[in-house]
Symmetry: C2
Subunit: 236 residues, 2 copies
């Protein structure tokens, strides 16, 4: 069996880093795309944050094509993104809307474009949703808009003639709060037993990438609901 | 009774133009915001398309504040936006995603910011949705993502502490196809009896702006479903 090739967008982030290590330790060839290199990856494509959306897409696409030769990717896992709060009256409202869009949606649309060119038939494309984005988010408006757009993108990609290869599996994972070092630092008094572990997500995505029978329905928005340290999957 | 002050974002577009004329003929003072001036408006704020999102917001906000003095707006009606097709494999995929975002979402977020500063208590903020954005849109992915974001923004703004004034009415209108000269030109063989007339929308928004009792529930996504030339309102 040929070595699996997996692209991890946001491979230097809190969750991306765990994914790179997990898939790598399970024998995969890893292409990391991020603003900085992840030395644990086999190949790094470093995005210039000053490039606009189109330039970033061209640069990433050329980089991926160069490293793949004619090979195909088994999975594209986009875990890029961050968080910013604020309602419509906050000083940084537009600035934060812009940041959220760039982090979650630019990376997701470029991932969809990469999938149309380089994902194998029956491959796996996972995008970064959020449970909060299923409803209104008055205290974090930019975040909610960006995640709602990612959710709708997943629904589009799962339909026929969306541009991704036949039989692809497209889904989003919708966490509430991830158990990252940054979140522990900034919310030291929170109830960590309701936070989703990064290892859980790594195992879940590895299972989806490798076992088509384990995948939920194409186009699923998969909520990760954690209670007492146990995470359940709830399709929205 | 003081003259009503109404801001129309996209006041030079096909629909915006009809709104400017309708509200003006009903005695309102009109501020039009668009890439070009509408001579029928009382005041024009011309947006520089080369400015980024933050700069556009600052320029529009300063322009509006200058023309209002300390007065408040009775309504903010954003009818900016356009259409572009394409799946994830189309040559202009990212370019069109970017364009759709700028047209529908930049204008909507700036409208929300304006509402937080200049809308009167109980005023009316209407944003440009689309029925298609409620589901997947594989053949027009950028359009669907932008409209889904606008829909989610409306849900956020209708919740408490979103930043807009107390008692504001926020909603989106979700047309299928508008009966504009441009659409007649590019789809000459379509069934026009299923297209929604611009006059219908002008009358609807005027009613919402003037009669709080006629408004649907705050946060509504109001589908405009036209059959045999008759349009029904269906809340999503």
């Amino acid at each position: 069996m040929a070595q699996q090739k997996v692209l991890i967008y946001g491979g230097r982030g809190g969750l991306g880093n765990v994914l790179v290590n997990y898939f790598k330790s399970n024998g995969c060839f890893i292409i990391s795309v991020d603003l900085a290199a992840n030395d644990a990856a086999d190949v790094n494509i470093v995005v210039n944050p000053n490039d606009d959306w189109m330039k970033q897409e061209v640069a990433v696409t050329e980089g991926v094509a160069g490293h793949l030769g004619g090979d195909k990717l088994d999975a594209i896992l986009n875990m890029a993104g961050g968080w910013a709060g604020g309602g419509s009256d906050s000083t940084d409202f537009i600035k934060n809307c812009d940041l959220m869009w760039k982090q979650s949606v630019w990376s997701s649309a470029i991932s969809a474009s990469l999938a149309s060119k380089h994902l194998k038939t029956g491959g796996c494309l996972i995008l970064p949703g959020a449970k909060a984005g299923l409803d209104g988010t008055p205290g974090m408006i930019g975040y909610g808009m960006a995640k709602a757009a990612v959710h709708q993108l997943v629904k589009s990609l799962a339909e026929p003639n969306s541009g991704v290869p036949q039989g692809s599996f497209c889904a989003a994972v919708l966490p509430v709060t991830l158990d990252t070092p940054m979140n522990r630092k900034f919310m030291p008094d929170a109830d960590f037993s309701t936070w989703t572990s990064l290892d859980f997500i790594a195992e879940l995505l590895f299972k989806w990438a490798n076992s088509p029978d384990e995948r939920p329905k194409n186009g699923s928005l998969v909520q990760l609901v954690t209670k007492n340290g146990e995470t359940s999957l709830v399709c929205a």
